[in-house]
Symmetry: C2
Subunit: 654 residues, 2 copies
């Protein structure tokens, strides 16, 4: 287990080229500027955000009413957090972003109340309602995002003003919440502040913040149930008033007793992240075990092949084990991001590549599917199967969109994608003892400290399109340590070479292949993972995928789109022996690998069909069909819906 | 086309024994008394109805607030309508029911306002709101149900008090609605009053009521859209405030232009019934054609094999063509009832057995599935596939119940079942010219008038369990006319005998087999329909049913239940050549026919499975399974969920 001090060791990765770099640059050059516009209500034909304006009103810089969701402030905070990661790289063209950030910090400083309180909804719209409806009001959630932003900005830019805002806010929370007399013995309806307080504690070394996070975690779900008491207290005013069950908030039983990932999927993930952080900080084995059980529940029984979680649109919630329909899927982008971040924590808590396999599954599939290749359009919901005709005609599918949207009334996902992609450098490697774990492959450099020495390393790869990875050390290196290379689960054959010579390297029980050596300047460690198109199948308890197959190459899951394959994808069949040909298409969708194969289309024989049915949709003979062989082209799932509306499907009949 | 006068010809059928009689007796002896209790809030552990109490408050007989839905009055009206049909039979033990009816009429008489207005919600809760929110307030809908009740009660018992209430109410509506100056140029958000006014016009001969119905029909969906104007008018107060599209109310375009069954399924059906009634009354071919198009849309492309319609739980609405998922199905009982009643009208408008085939499909499947065999528990939603584990864990399946419920906060379905089953006598036969159409088979007697003569006929059959039907005439008969026997679509072989001698009778293009003869006392007309278990298949555009089969015998659709077959029904497979054995089980579920066959269960080979997966729910090899042969027992779908909770499934893998 990686405990407190391990979390504070120096490690800085920089993505310099390739797939992840392209996405980070997209975020930096397109998404972040577009989101600033969105938050300032400057995007035509998109729902207004009101989020900057709300804060300006709270700051006394503008007049008007609070508009939008109760948690609208958090969009600004997530955007600022993204800016913090981006500004850390100190690029020459940072001035505009820095100016927007400073403008935001000005507003936040002014909006903060003398006692440290900061939430535009209650400052502007309902001052007496402060802290009276923790179940719905998201005040602690918004505080958490602001704290996360402050930590990222301070680390990225050295800014102390935003850190001051965050510590004043955290001190205010510390004065308001806890078991002591006069404090509110409650916790937030949407977890987030807990993990943020851990971050702030790590940055500032202030133990009170960690204790407050621990209090929130431990108090959750205890008897008597806080949300039930709160709803009966004087001054309680419902905001939405829907009677979600306590499971929705993961507040049904104490967190250490929770064994199943339930309720609102994003809430669940943010809770589990904080649990893992605290388990790590405190060396708390019991809490770590609870985390592992919950991780297993979420990933082995409730996760789509794309890394999507939270199958139910109603309550944006987990469904029961193996209930993973493809067409009605919710699979919110934020929930996948939450699972990515939770898995990243778990990797550091219990060394095992299984966590990184999930991170990778999410990153290259269900996370990036949430943003268009233009960097300015989004999916909140990530289905695995779409028929526009059905979506248009069925109100129960109204959550499933087949056109990416510019913004949302509830815009949690877009800035969440921005901050997560911007922060990828934090999730590529980790250190434990004298071992460097290489988790996610990328083109770029790493600096880290080991035994008091600063070490630099360069990684060269075309991953995820190519399975070859080279790690190289500059001239001055001279240090003995272990490099643990992750061998992904999808990879069944790999070789390791040192300076061109093949080593008899084996994968450990934890999935890492360890190489210990006195690394010297000019050393080259090469990992070559066989990467070929693969058929994958679902656990047979997932009924929606039965008798179907999906295609994968490396970490990337593929899908069929109507634009390449024509309509009626549900009638296409991939023969069990069809050859799968992967090829690079430089001019398609910004450069992608596609998988081409031969399939068949079962089409209703309309003439014969009419004859059999004679007006009865339920005839006594199997309606006749004709089978037509055709070419099938699969594209990466993350790249779907970038060429106009049409059908899409991941799981295909075999 | 059967026009106005045809609708007023004397025809009275009485169900005296057998399947339908048992259900009518269940309704009479269990359901109707239980519903009286429910409406009086006397059922423990069930949501209170408040419906009688609301009316008592409106009548000045009690004090308090209006509680429950805005359309709560309609439950009482539907119950009274059921009572009207039952009391028509003048049974010796009618006294209690008659007393309840009289008590209700007393309350309604007193609750009615001096101007004829009668709606407890607005009388008690919001007098200034009267007629100001037609889109949501259901005032005309409630008025319609009251008028239907009055017509049934007056016809059944001769009561004039309730008829007076209804005509005063209808006169009030006539004074308030229409194109004339000073009147509201609107229509109801939930169709119902239109068809009720036609009934009242037929009973009273008052043309104004028919004209008002015609006005409501013709006005609907015209420009400018009434619901949009209304929402901007002074005094408009939203009740729910959800922004349903105009399609939800079938108010998007004028009704004659409507080609697709869209929106709220019950609303749609009640509209189409009135359209068919008016087409019939007025001999309006154009309107009749619109009805036929809409009937075709609803039944050929949007209907479950059980006769359920309205696939979408969200907005209780139709989905697009062939989008008929079995697990998330809504298929509200009321919607099936609406389609039953609409089809009954269509049978009379355009002679064709196809309409009666749908009536029968609904009656023996998706309608009776809405009531438990105890007569005191109900289903609002009628799925074709249920896994309790999934329902419990998935909030998007919260509408799917696997335990029948005693009552509902929105209790539209229970009294709708009661009135429909009680009124079955009205749907068994129809007359056109000198032809008697025998539509639905039953054990009992028919009296009708032809050429000025009253004719009596007895029908003997064990239908739907047996395909033999005998029609016999008493001594004094001596009349030449045609009998048109419906040959159901499910029946591929039949014989007709007259007085024991086989006739070379053929089915006409309309599906009826006609026998013209001078019928004399003692004549026996026998129809023998071959009835055997059949495999049926779905139109292949219905993706949820692809590669699956359902079983049917006669009009009855069958299903598997966990109690007979064990769990994991989704893994059961019915081999294409498995023999289907039907047998009568006197002691099962009150006496039912079952279909037994051999099937296979594909079970995960757990050991091998774990080996392959190694913690990954998406392995590269098809997870191994073992196949176990077992006995399968199918029971009639309508009888499911009468033996405790468990899985159920209509469509089985073949």
């Amino acid at each position: 287990m990686q405990t407190g001090p391990e979390n504070r060791r120096y490690l800085h990765a920089r993505i310099e080229a390739g797939f992840l770099h392209d996405f980070q640059e997209l975020i930096r050059t397109k998404t972040v500027p577009q989101q600033w516009k969105a938050m300032n209500d400057e995007i035509p034909d998109a729902p207004p955000s009101h989020s900057i304006q709300n804060l300006r009103i709270a700051a006394g810089l503008a007049e008007g009413r609070h508009e939008g969701m109760v948690f609208q402030d958090s969009d600004v905070a997530k955007w600022l957090e993204a800016a913090g990661y981006l500004l850390a790289e100190k690029r020459p063209d940072d001035a505009q972003l820095r100016a927007w950030v400073n403008e935001s910090i000005d507003i936040l400083e002014r909006a903060q109340q003398p006692d440290g309180y900061l939430d535009s909804y209650f400052i502007v719209k309902d001052p007496p309602g402060k802290w009276k409806n923790l179940r719905e009001a998201h005040e602690l959630y918004c505080a958490g995002h602001l704290i996360e932003a402050a930590v990222a900005l301070h680390r990225g830019t050295g800014d102390t003003r935003i850190l001051k805002v965050a510590t004043r806010l955290a001190d205010h929370l510390d004065s308001k919440f806890g078991r002591e007399k006069g404090k509110i013995r409650g916790y937030c309806g949407h977890e987030e502040v807990e993990l943020a307080l851990v971050k702030l504690a790590r940055l500032t070394g202030e133990a009170r913040y960690l204790d407050l996070a621990l209090y929130f975690i431990e108090e959750r779900g205890t008897d008597p149930k806080f949300f039930e008491l709160e709803a009966k207290a004087p001054g309680f005013a419902p905001i939405w008033g829907a009677g979600q069950p306590l499971e929705y908030f993961q507040a049904h039983i104490p967190v250490r007793q929770q064994r199943e990932a339930v309720g609102h999927a994003v809430r669940a993930m943010y809770l589990y992240i904080a649990m893992a952080d605290i388990a790590s900080e405190k060396g708390d084995e019991d809490l770590a075990k609870a985390c592992d059980r919950l991780w297993e529940s979420a990933t082995a029984r409730k996760m789509y092949v794309t890394g999507g979680i939270g199958a139910s649109a109603t309550l944006e919630s987990f469904a029961s084990d193996f209930d993973l329909p493809n067409d009605t899927a919710y699979a919110e982008t934020c929930a996948s991001i939450g699972l990515f971040l939770f898995s990243s924590r778990m990797t550091r808590l219990n060394e095992s590549t299984k966590y990184v396999d999930v991170m990778e599954r999410i990153l290259y599939n269900g996370l990036l599917s949430g943003i268009g290749l233009d960097g300015e359009s989004y999916f909140y919901v990530n289905p695995l199967e779409v028929e526009p005709r059905r979506c248009d005609g069925n109100p129960s599918l109204q959550h499933v969109k087949y056109r990416r949207q510019k913004w949302y009334g509830c815009a949690c996902c877009p800035p969440n994608i921005a901050r997560t992609v911007a922060s990828l450098g934090e999730h590529l490697y980790h250190l434990s003892g004298d071992c460097l774990f290489v988790d996610l492959y990328h083109e770029g450099v790493l600096e880290f400290e080991l035994g008091g020495h600063k070490i630099c390393m360069r990684q060269v790869t075309r991953y995820p399109w190519d399975g070859r990875v080279t790690l190289a050390f500059p001239e001055q290196t001279e240090m003995q340590f272990t490099i643990a290379l992750r061998v992904p689960k999808w990879c069944s054959a790999f070789t390791v070479k040192i300076n061109g010579r093949t080593e008899g390297a084996a994968k450990g029980a934890d999935g890492y292949c360890r190489v210990t050596r006195l690394w010297s300047g000019g050393d080259r460690l090469e990992l070559e993972m066989e990467m070929r198109p693969q058929r994958i199948y679902a656990d047979r308890r997932i009924e929606a995928d039965r008798e179907k197959v999906a295609l994968r190459r490396g970490p990337i899951v593929y899908c069929l789109e109507e634009v390449d394959n024509g309509p009626d994808l549900s009638s296409m069949r991939l023969p069990i022996d069809a050859q799968l040909d992967w090829r690079w298409e430089e001019d398609l969708l910004g450069g992608i690998g596609t998988i081409c194969t031969k399939g068949s289309l079962e089409r209703a024989d309309i003439g014969a069909d009419r004859d059999v049915r004679n007006g009865d949709p339920y005839p006594e003979r199997i309606p006749p069909t004709e089978t037509i062989m055709n070419e099938l082209k699969f594209i990466p799932y993350y790249a779907w819906a970038n060429r106009g509306p049409g059908e899409m499907r991941v799981w295909v009949r075999e």
